[in-house]
Subunit: 212 residues, 2 copies
């Protein structure tokens, strides 16, 4: 998979570089080399150089990159500077947690409202976001021209919600339901597989504790 | 990467099968074939058969699997049936959202308490979970024999927290900070790269809207 000619693998690493650069102490030099970044992150210098070349052509021999400029270019490239509105469907525990979480704004995502089939879940959240009945999605999504949809419904309902979103103009879907979604080729689905993460953590633990 | 001889790729797919099986309607037959699962998930039959073979040897020609048994075996294998306690460090917005989210219990994870360097962040959350000063981590982690640590601090603080956790007996780390963590080989780190997901969504969007 790739977008703008950049592979997913590179795209996964760019936020890591950005996180590292933003975490540099105030007294750090103004410039930084690919070598220094590679050493700090325990990765290969050639890879760092190649990855950064897809974002910036300002790297110079001996000097490296001007840190502030590179941060700027990374944020620009990763789309964190533009804010995209999103709607969320499934205002259960996970959905509400995401809806009330303000931290996505730093990454250019603003969840403007949520929907739920259960009327009891509708109303305002503690942070003032609205949860509407799912029947209002069509009207509101189109009216507000929202292009990103977040799915936090149970697996059994996810494909239906996905289809409804696409029908109403959603182009990119962030899926938290542990299920495969069928979509047309012009739609991007990005799934978070937290269930797999948790299985890995507990599997590692079981193995370590058993080994003793 | 692998654990118990199972590759990460397989492990990523197992929760998808589980999600699909659990979402089958009440009136569905008692048994299901690898062919049917593959067709429903839009994936290859051979892969499904191979993946499930690492979890169950109950699949029979023509009959397939008894659905309820396969669900049971998947949950057992993925460690969702045992509950592991975890501590979380970094009670900011994301940390609090995870701490108050009860849904991880279904996947065998129970976040028992959190820590923060900022005294103002300490106290009880709305769901009654405690946030302690970070200085108490050593004592509490060891006393309660917690083996899983969740990191939700800024990137600049993540390695320090990681080291502190390992020093106090943590064996598996779920990292939400956008940063690479250096750990000894007996420690598992599983990083969630939500920043990359968001970059992918906005990148896709920018491209689609630009194309028009």
């Amino acid at each position: 998979m790739s977008y703008n000619g950049i592979s997913t693998a590179i795209l996964q690493r760019l936020p890591i570089y950005l996180g590292y650069l933003k975490a540099l102490p105030d007294g750090a030099p103004d410039n930084i080399s690919a070598t220094a970044i590679a050493a700090a992150l325990g990765t290969g210098e050639v890879q760092v150089r190649k990855d950064l070349a897809s974002v910036s052509n300002a790297g110079k021999p001996k000097i490296g990159y001007i840190t502030a400029d590179l941060i700027d270019e990374l944020e620009e490239f990763l789309g964190y500077k533009d804010t995209n509105d999103a709607v969320l469907v499934g205002a259960g525990r996970l959905g509400r947690a995401l809806l009330e979480y303000e931290g996505f704004k730093a990454y250019g995502l603003n969840i403007v409202m949520a929907f739920d089939v259960d009327e009891r879940a509708t109303g305002k959240t503690s942070t003032g976001k609205s949860v509407f009945p799912l029947s209002k999605l069509e009207n509101l999504c189109k009216r507000m021209n929202v292009k990103i949809g977040i799915i936090t419904v149970p697996a059994s309902a996810a494909q239906g919600v996905c289809d409804l979103m696409i029908k109403n103009g959603i182009l990119a879907i962030w899926n938290f339901a542990p299920v495969h979604l069928d979509v047309p080729s012009n739609i991007l689905v990005r799934s978070e597989n937290m269930a797999a993460s948790l299985a890995m953590l507990s599997g590692h633990l079981a193995k370590k504790l058993f080994d003793k």
